[in-house]
Symmetry: C2
Subunit: 373 residues, 2 copies
């Protein structure tokens, strides 16, 4: 059981004999505040300064309610207990990792969302979300700086016979600087997520706004679309192939974006990045179409073997990252191997995070200044 | 109990003796299909060709589940019955009105969303949504026509000390026709909804795309933002005042839009419309600031009295509408009265709809061709 932050007031009474769940609970600091992911006006769920989460749900006649938190949350679920007023309350057994966590309620054996929380698409469903404020949360905060816009576009896709949706981040000033052309990052979500993930739970737009306002990067466009093109039935990753998505991305979306936005429409000004399954897509598509992208980034999504690049692809950058609770040694070693083989490889490990969105927010912040040099 | 559509096969056996709930249920046609508002891959809820809705929820140990449908839905709720496999199923007692309906589940006395359906902000919470296909649904369908974009902007607001969110619809070609300037419609949601309503459940962008593609309107921009500016606690409409919102809209948002989009920044090319509470805001703000807008539209949101306009405001158009299940006589009479007083007033009544989004989708379709003439 991990304790990341201990209030000074409690530090003196904490001895090794307190290392049980009960002892941790007794050390919970009662400074809980509504989660920043709550629906307007909702007081629960709440989070305290140590990273504990507390839930409250109204369902007077329910038999049992358990909160299921994902990776980096409290493992095994947090059962809620019924109070006399018909509400169910419970607090996680320990502090949670900093950052964003998907979760849901299991009520009487069925899966439902917490009516107090906002919804985020993950695990092929709109899940509830909760945010444990990170010590470095400033980099993805909404600040009083010039803001870029995130726009929904509907682009024609002959290969799937549909109008498909993408979100396009254009940096502040895009609409005014009508002569300026911009490089483009194609940025993919993970399995079970969709094209809403990077701007909703990822705050990609705010990360960019802040980096640009601080002068740390030159402005570029980000395009985000759905990457599980042929996955008609959610949950069937077994039948998933990247090839139909490659067609949508390379043959349909990129030409549409280049025709409708002021892009610098060449390989040198085009990057692809993805998290988890989106990293695997990035890996496969950048290798299958080395003529399209110059910058590759895999966020918790594997790495490249120098052998598969040799004589085929010559990227200007390979960025590989993961959370420290994933496989950081693999990531670090892979960068060394790629560097030894002559590639400009950079690794990044997000401290104290798992296969979750704080890892990927931080990865975006780290990779953005390395792109389009 | 109303029956809107009777399949020919059943018409011959329908007599007056069947006019009970049980008789209607026996006439339910088993051609149910997943609602178009379902989450990806979800088979329930379903809708049949008559407008009945059928729900299925998994919660093996629940004691009771009731579906609460809003206006135009089946009144009083649809109780679900438990099947042997642990699922709960039920069908509405009668056909529902065409169009979009908010709903939620009451599970063991608590309010939750249907995990099968997507979520839509209404009633100051993210509700579940279901769509009964309308006979005229073509006008808000996603078609293979040039699509405008809907973009999220974050604009600075000194009066509320925040960066506030708005969504901006720019018509197809906006990014290419960099010399063209456009009129702007400021379009408001209703009580308990927010700035997402008009593009999510309203399909305002698709309505515009289709009208433009058919040559029925000249392209214009639509701006949608949150209208309950001072309503810190959702649900407290009693304390609501339009004045703080007027400041945000007129003194902050409009100057920002005029500075950052290619608008024709004058009164003659600016319209304001709103549904329900957004109509009341439109009424109040157009009268308080007659220098700002030339076109006024109230959708299920009251009307204007000629006396309050006289010597003060001289709009180019007053559009008033509602559903036929609301107060259509008031709307028609108000238009006559306004016309007699010399105003260009137009009324519209949406057939067989209540205080719901199909009324407002149709109203947008009707008013759009009358704007910016």
């Amino acid at each position: 059981m991990k304790i990341k932050m201990l209030a000074v007031a409690f530090a003196t009474v904490l001895t090794s004999s307190f290392c049980s769940a009960q002892a941790n609970q007794s050390a919970v600091i009662e400074d809980f505040k509504p989660s920043t992911c709550n629906q307007p006006g909702q007081m629960y769920p709440q989070v305290n300064s140590q990273g504990y989460a507390r839930f409250r749900v109204i369902a007077p006649n329910a038999q049992s309610i358990v909160v299921s938190l994902g990776l980096g949350g409290a493992k095994g679920g947090t059962p809620l207990a019924k109070a006399e007023d018909g509400s169910w309350m419970g607090t996680t057994a320990g502090p949670m990792d900093e950052g964003f966590h998907y979760y849901h309620l299991t009520i009487d054996g069925g899966v439902f969302n917490d009516p107090g929380a906002m919804n985020y698409y993950g695990s092929t469903r709109w899940e509830s979300g909760i945010e444990i404020p990170a010590h470095d949360k400033d980099f993805y905060a909404l600040k009083d700086v010039p803001h870029g816009n995130v726009q929904q576009i509907l682009f024609p896709s002959k290969s799937t016979n549909t109008s498909r949706r993408a979100f396009v981040y254009t940096p502040a000033g895009y609409d005014k600087n009508t002569k300026t052309k911009y490089p483009v990052l194609y940025l993919q979500h993970g399995w079970g997520e969709d094209e809403t993930a990077w701007s909703n739970q990822g705050h990609a737009n705010l990360i960019m706004d802040n980096l640009i306002a601080e002068g740390k990067i030159k402005p570029f466009i980000i395009v985000m679309t759905y990457g599980m093109t042929n996955d008609a039935k959610p949950g069937t990753i077994g039948s998933f192939s990247y090839v139909p998505f490659q067609t949508v991305l390379v043959d349909e979306l990129i030409p549409y974006v280049d025709a409708n936005f002021r892009t610098i429409a060449n390989k040198e000004n085009r990057a692809m990045a993805g998290l988890s399954m989106g990293g695997m897509e990035t890996h496969a598509i950048t290798l299958a179409r080395p003529d399209v992208f110059s910058y590759y980034a895999l966020l918790s999504g594997g790495t490249y073997n120098p052998a598969e690049l040799k004589g085929k692809a010559n990227p200007k950058l390979i960025f590989i990252s993961c959370g420290s609770r994933e496989n950081p040694d693999m990531v670090k070693k892979a960068a060394v191997t790629l560097k030894e083989a002559g590639y400009n490889a950079v690794s990044f490990v997000s401290e104290n995070t798992a296969h979750e969105f704080l890892t990927w927010r931080r990865s975006l912040k780290e990779v953005a200044p390395l792109l389009f040099k």
